[in-house]
Symmetry: D3
C-alpha cells in the first residue's frame, strides 16, 4: 500500500449527554469516537487522500468499534497493534451554553495506546511508500513509553523521507509544561510542518510574539520548520464562534490567510484536527495556500455537525470558501 498520510495516536470513546444536559442529569449518553489523529485522518480522507491510521487498541467490542468507525471513512487500519490487555480510553463531554463552557472529563489513563512500547509498530513497513506523517502533542503525553514510541515513529518517518507534521495540542491534564517542553522540543526538531495555537506555543515552548504571524515565524526559525499553521478562534459566545487560520511558509517567508467564518457551533470538538487534515490535503494538491483554505473551510463545516470527525465533501468546502450563502441547498 502507498499512503498520502499516516497518522498515529489515541482514539477514545466519547460519551456526551444529549440536549445540553449535565452528566448528573443524564439517562443516556451519545456515543462518538474521536482523537486528534483519527480526526485529522478522516478530514484528509474526506478530501481524497489515501490515509492509514495507526494506534494500539484493546481487542474487544470497544476497540473494534474504533477500528470500524475508522474504516467507515476508507482509512487503512491494518497497522493497528491489537492487545488483549489494557482498556479503551473514554472521555465525557458536556455541551454548554453561555456562560457555561463545554466541559470535558477524561478517563483515558491505562489505555492500550498509553501502554504502547517502541517496537510495537513496524514503521518500516508503514512508511514504505508514504508522503506525510502526522501526530500531535497528545500522543507522547500519554505515558513515558508512548513518548518513546512517538519519537521512534518520528525518527522512522524522517529516515524514510516522510514529512513529519505535528500539532502541539498541549493537554495540561496529561503532563506539565516542563515535561511537554522537554519532549516536544525534541520532536519539533524533527518536524517539517507544525500546527499550533498562540496559547499552546507559549505554554509548551515559552515563545510569545506580538502577532500570530510572528509566533509562526519564531516557531519556524526555532525549529527550522517548513510550514507553521496557526488556528485562530474567538468566542463571543458558546454557540457562536469566529474561526480562521494562517500558515507561514518559511521557504518564501510568506503568510497565507484563509477566509474568516462566523460559525453557529453545533460541536466544536475536533475542529483543529479537521483543519490539520484539510490543510494537508490542500498542501498535497496545490500547496500551502490551498491548504490553509481547505483546512479552514473543512474545519468550519466540522463545527456545524455533531461528533469529533467531519462529514463533509470537497464540494461543500469549495462552496463555503466561495461564500455560497445560507439558502436551502435543493
Amino acid at each position: 500500500m502507498s499512503y498520502d498520510l499516516v497518522t498515529f495516536g489515541e482514539t477514545m470513546l466519547r460519551l456526551s449527554p444529549p440536549n445540553h444536559q449535565r452528566l448528573e442529569q443524564a439517562s443516556s449518553l451519545d456515543l462518538h469516537v474521536g482523537g486528534s489523529e483519527l480526526n485529522a485522518a478522516v478530514a484528509a480522507s474526506r478530501l481524497g487522500l489515501q490515509v492509514a491510521y495507526v494506534s494500539r487498541l484493546t481487542e474487544n467490542p470497544l476497540g473494534r468499534l474504533i477500528r470500524n468507525k475508522t474504516r467507515e471513512h476508507g482509512i487503512d487500519t491494518s497497522h493497528i497493534a491489537w492487545t488483549a490487555e489494557d482498556r479503551v480510553g473514554t472521555y465525557y463531554m458536556e455541551f454548554g451554553a453561555s456562560p457555561r463552557p463545554n466541559a470535558v472529563i477524561y478517563d483515558r489513563a491505562h489505555s492500550a495506546i498509553a501502554g504502547i512500547q517502541p517496537g510495537d509498530i513496524d514503521w518500516g513497513t508503514v512508511f514504505r511508500n508514504t508522503k506525510l506523517f502526522y501526530t500531535s502533542g497528545i500522543t507522547p503525553a500519554l505515558s513515558t513509553s508512548a513518548a518513546a514510541a512517538t519519537k521512534e515513529a518520528v525518527q522512522a518517518a524522517q529516515g524514510a523521507g516522510v514529512k513529519v507534521c505535528v500539532d502541539l495540542n498541549y493537554r495540561a491534564r496529561l503532563w506539565s509544561q516542563a515535561e511537554a517542553r522537554a519532549v516536544m522540543t525534541d520532536i519539533a526538531n524533527s518536524t517539517d510542518i507544525l500546527f499550533a495555537t498562540e496559547e499552546d506555543t507559549e505554554r509548551v515552548f515559552g515563545i510569545t510574539a506580538d502577532s500570530y504571524e510572528d509566533v509562526a515565524k519564531r516557531l519556524a526559525q526555532t525549529f527550522e520548520l517548513e510550514l507553521v499553521a496557526i488556528t485562530l478562534r474567538e468566542n463571543p459566545s458558546v454557540w457562536k464562534n469566529v474561526w480562521t487560520a494562517i500558515v507561514y511558509d518559511a521557504a518564501n517567508d510568506t503568510v497565507y490567510r484563509a477566509p474568516t467564518f462566523e460559525i453557529e457551533v453545533v460541536d466544536r470538538v475536533g475542529s483543529g484536527d479537521s483543519f490539520v487534515g484539510g490543510f494537508l490535503a490542500g498542501l498535497l494538491e496545490g500547496g500551502a495556500e490551498l491548504g490553509v483554505c481547505l483546512g479552514v473551510g473543512l474545519s468550519a463545516l466540522k463545527q456545524t455537525l455533531p461528533g469529533d470527525v467531519c462529514f463533509a465533501t470537497r464540494d461543500e468546502v469549495d462552496r463555503v470558501l466561495e461564500g455560497g450563502g445560507l439558502r436551502i441547498v435543493r
Copy 2:
C-alpha cells in the same frame, strides 16, 4: 361540501436526521410529511377555513400516512385519487448551521402524483361550492401529465368561478427555466392571486425591477392579476432570519406591508406555504391587508417549530402581530 379553499399538489415524506447530523451519520430519521399545497392547506385550516386537499396517492401505509396527517388538521381528503401503482415521493433534509446551509435531497421521481392524468380528478364536483383554488409551480413541474392535469384544474376553477391562486415556487431540479416559463405563463394568465419571490420571478418570467414593490406591480400588469404577494427573507445566519412580506393590490394600486420578524429558526421549510395559507385566510376574512399580516405572522411562527406545517392558532398569530413579547406565556 362547500370549501373556502381547495389545494392541489404533491405531499412527500420528509426524512431528516436529528440534532444537526449529516445523513451519513444518521441512525434514525425524523419523519414528517409536507409539500407546498398541503402546507398551505394546513395553514388556512388552522386559521378557520374549510379546506380540501387534492392529490394522487399510492394505497399503502405511506400514502395513508399522508392522508391521515392531512385529516388531522380537519382537511377534507375525499377527493384524493388512489392508486395501487407508483410510489410516495420522499425527500431528505439536513439541518445546517452557519456556514453550512440546510440541504435537501429530493427522491420524488415516479411518484403517484407525477403519474396523474387529466381526468383523474372530478373537478366539477370539487369546485361546486368553492371560493379559492391553490396550486404551486411545483405541481406542473412534476411531469408532463401533471402539467396537463394542473392546467385542467386551473381551467376548471376558472370555469367554476373559483379564484385561482398560484405560488411560482420554481424548482430547478424539476425543470429548466425555459420549460417553467412556457407552462407557468399559461397558468399565470388564468391566475387571480400570485405568490412569488423576487428571485423566482426573474428565473421563471425574466421579470426584474428595482424594488419588490415594482416586481409585484410588473407581475400584476403582465398577467392581469388581482393580487401579488412577495415574501422577503434575509439570512444573517442559518439560525437567525429576518422575515416579512408585501402584497400589491392591483384594484386600488396599493402595497400592503406586514411587520418584520427576527426569527430564531427551528425549521424554515414550508414558511412560504404557511404564508400562502395565512394570507388566503386573512383575505377571506378581511381583505389583502389582513391577509399579508396573518400570512407573515403565521409563517413566522411556522419557522419556530419542527416540520413542514404550522401548528399555531389564530390567537398566537394575533399575539405576535401585536408584538406580544417573549416572556413565558403562563
Copy 3:
C-alpha cells in the same frame, strides 16, 4: 436534624415536548419535576446548605418520583405529608423560539398540596433547629386552605426565630391581584427577606418606583424587611437573555449588585428560584453581597441546562463570577 433552610410549596411534574415541538405535535414528553420551593431548595443544597423540603404529596409513583428527585440532591423529605387522596399537579411546557415565547399550561388544580390544611405539618419539629424558611406567593395562591397553612408556617417560623424568606411569584392563573394583595400583605408583614420582580411588585402591592433600587427600598420600608432582592431580565430573543439582580440591605441602606450575564438560554424555567437558593446560601456564608453574586451566578448556569433545578457546583459558580471564559474546560 438541624436545617439551614426549610422550603415549603408545591412540586409538579413537568411534561414538555422535545426539540421545540408544539404539544399538538408531540409523541413523547420529557419529564422533569419542579416548583419554586423545590428549585430553591436544590439550589441551596448544591451550594452546601442543609435543606429540608416540606409539601403534601399523593402516595403513588408520581408522588414518590417527586420525593426521590428531592432526595437525589441530599434534601430532607421526612416532613412531607403523604395522602392517598388528591393528585400530583402537572404542567406542560412548550419551548419557543423568537417570536414564539415559551408557553406553560398548568394542570395543577386539586393537587395534594392544594388540599393541605393547617395542622398537617408539625412545624414545631421542623423549625426546632432551623435558620431560614422559604416559601413563595404560589403556595398561598393554591387554595384557601393552602393560604391558611402558609400563614401557619410563616407564624411558626417567626415564633421559632427562623428568618422568613418569601418570593412574590404572582401567578395570575391562580388568583386575582386583589386576592394576592390581601394574603401577601399579611405574609410580607412577617417576612424578613423578600424576593421580587418590578412587575410582580406592582401587580401584588401596587408599588412602583423610578428604578429597581427604589422599588426594593419601598418594599423594605413598607414591610420593614431586612433584605429585598430583585432579579432583572431582558429578552432580546427567546434564545438569548440578559440576566442580573440586585439586593437592597435595609440595615445599612446599601444596594449590592451582581455581574450581568448574557445567557444562551437552554431552559429558563426556575432561574428565579435558583437565584433564591443561591442567594440564601451566599447570605449564610458571607452576607448579602456574596448572596446576590452566588444567586446570579447559579441562576445564570441554571438557564444553560434543561429542567427546573440547577445541576451546578460552587466551583462552577465561582468560575462564571470570575469571568472564566468560554473555552472548553478540560
Copy 4:
C-alpha cells in the same frame, strides 16, 4: 352528515414510560390518546364506517391534540362540546413483564367530560341520520352529571331509532358496584347490543352462569337485548395472551364464535374497544357472525402495536382470520 356510528365518552392523554421502565425511573413519557369510545370509533372507522365521536373537551393544546388524533382517522369531531374550563384527563401506564402486571394510574377527575351536563350536546342533530350509538359504562361513572348526560344520549338515540350499543366496562376506581348497578341497569334496559366480560357482568349485575354462553344468554334475557358479545382473555404471561370472543344472537338463539389467537402482546390496552368497533363494522356489513370475527381479528392486531387505537386495515384483519402465517409480508 349521516353516520354509521356515533360514540360518546372520555378520551384521555396516556403517558407511559418507554422500555418497561417504572414511572419512578422515567425521564420521558410516550404520549398517546385513548378512551373506550374513541378506540371503538377508530376501529370502526378503520373498517370503513362513517363515524362521529362526541365528547366535551377543554380548548387548549391538549384538547386540540385529542381532536386532531380523532380526525386523523377520518372521524367527525364537529359535535364535540368545547369549554375553557376544567381539564383534559390523563392516565399513566406502566408496561409490565411477568410476574409484574401492567399498571394504570388514573388522573382523570375534574375533566371536561366529567363536567358535562344534559343539554350540552344537541343529540337531535347528531342522531338525525345515524345507525348505531355506542358508549361504555365508563362515561356515566365519571360524575353524576355525566351519568345524566349519558342517559339523555341513550334516550335520544332510542327516540331517533338509533341502536344503542354499550360496553359494561366496570371501573372500580370510579364508582361502587352498587352505584354502577343502579345506573347501568337503567341504561341496559334501553340497550340493544351489549358488550361485557364474565367478570364485569358479575360485578355490575350480580349475574353469573356456568359458561360464557350462558352469561350472554342471561344478559340478553334480563335486559331484552338483541346481541350480547363477550370477550375472553387468558394470561399465561404478560407478554403472551390468548384472545377470542363470542356473540349471542337472541333473535335466533345462536352463539357465534371467532377464532382464538395466541398473541405476542405489545400493548393490550384498548383491545376490548377495538373488538367493539370491529364487531359493529362487521355487523353492519354482514351480521353478527362476521362482526365477532372482524372484532376479534382487529382486536388481536391491536395488541401487537403500541397505543390505545388500532392501526390496521381490513386486508390485514382478513389475513389473520384466514390464518395468514407469520412469514415476512413482502
Copy 5:
C-alpha cells in the same frame, strides 16, 4: 488486491418504525442499510475473509452512506460504479408480533443498480485474484439490464476460475415465476454453489421432493452443482423461531447438518444472507461441513440483533455452536 469473496447486488436504505409501531404511527424511523449481497459480504468479512462488494450507487449522501457502512466492516468498495443519476433504493419494514407478521414495503424501482448496464464493471480486474463470487436471484430481477449485467458477471467469474455462488432469493414483487425461471436457469447452469429454500426451489424451478435433502440433491443433479445449501425455518411465533440448515455435497453425495437453534427473534431480516457469508467462510477454512455450522451459528446470532447485517465474532459463533449457555458472559 486479492479477494476471497466478491459479492454483487443492491443495497437499500431500510427505514423501520421503532417499538413495533406501524408506519402510520411513526414519527421517526430507524435507519439501516442492507441487501442480500452486502449482508453476505459482511458475514464473510466478520469471519475473516477478504471481501469486495460491487454495486452501482448514486453519488449523494445516501449512496455514500451505503459505501461507508460497507467499509466499516473492512470490505473493499473500490469497484462500485458511481453515477449522478437514478436513486438509492429504500425499503420500509414494520416489525410485527403474533399474529401480525413482519411486513416490508419496497421502494426500490429506478435505483442506480437497476440502471446498471453490462460493461459498467471491469470484472476482469475484479476477478484477477478471487476465489468466490456471490450474487442472488434479486440482482437479475431488478431490471432487464441488471439481468444482463448479472449474467456478464457470472460468465466473467467462470472464465476467471472463480467459483460462482448463488442464492435463489425469489422476490415475487420483482418478477414473475416464469421470468425468474428463464433467467435463473441460465445462471444456475453456471453456478457451483447454490443456496435455496424448499419454497423458492419450487417457485423458481418447479422442483419439489419429499425431503429437504432430496430437494438439494435434485438441484445438484439438475444444474451440476458442487454444493447445495438449504436453510430451514419454523415460525411458532413472530418472536420465537427455530432455525437450521443442511448442505448437500455432490462430490461425496453427503448431507451435512448444523445444530438447530431456538431463536428469540430481534430482527430476522438478513439471516439467510448471513448464512451464505458464514457458510462460504467456513467452506474456505475447512469445507462444507464447517461451512454449514458457521453459517447457521452466525445467522442464528444475526437474528438476535437489529439491522440487516451480523455484528458477531468467530468466538461467539463457536460459543453458540458449542452450546455455550445463556448465563451472562462477564
Copy 6:
C-alpha cells in the same frame, strides 16, 4: 444516625446499547448505576430499612451521579470517602436474545474504590448504632488494599456487634479461585449470614453437595454461619427465566423456601443483590422465612424493569407473593 443496614462496595456506571444492539452498532448508550452493595442497599431501603452505603468515589460529575442516585432512594451517603484521584469504574452491557446471552465488559480497574486503604472509613462511627453490615466477594477482589479494607470493615462490624452478611459473588475476571478462597475463607469465618449460589460455592470453597439444601448446610457448618441463602435460576431462554431461593436456618436446622417465579426478563442484572436486600429487610421484620419470600418477590420484580436496582414497593412484593395475577392493575 442509626442504621438497620450498612453496605460497602463499588458502584459503577453501566453503559448499555438500547434495543438489543451490539456495542459495535451503538450510537447512544443507556446510563445506569449499579453494583452489588448499592443494589442491595436500594432493595432494603425500598422495603423500609434505614440504610447507609459506604464506598470511595472520585469527586467529579460521575462520582456525584452515583452519590445522587444513591440518595434518590433515601440512602445515607455521608460516610463515602471522596478523592480527587482515580476514576469511576464503568461496565458495558449488551442485552442478548437466545442463543446470544447477555454480555458484560468490565472497565473497572483503577477505580477509586480499588484504591481504598484501611483507615479511609471511620467504621467506629459508621457502626455506632447499626444492625447489619453487608458486602460481597467483589469488594475484596478489587485490589489488595480493598481486600484489607474489607477485612477491616468486617472486623469492625464484628467488634461492634453488627451482624456480618456476605454474598460470595465470585468474579473470575477479578481474581483466581485460589486468591478468592484465601480471602473469602477469612471473611466467611467472621460472617453471620452468607448468600451464595451452588456454583460460586464450589468455585470459591470447593464445596459441593447433592442438593442446594446440603450446600447450604455444609456452608453453615464449615463457617459456623447463622443463615445461608441460595438463589436458584433456570434459563430456558434469555427472555424467560425461572427464579427462586432457599434459606437454611442453622439455629433450628430448617430450610425455608420461597415461591418460584416464571419471569419475563427485561433486565436480570442485580437480581441476586435485590434478593439480598429484600431478604435482610424481611429478616429484620419477621425472620428468615419472611426474608426469603420478600427477597425472592422483590428480585423477581427487579428482573422486569431496566437497571441494576429495583423500583418496587412492599405492596407490589406482597401482591406477587400472593399470586396477584397478570391483569392490568387499575
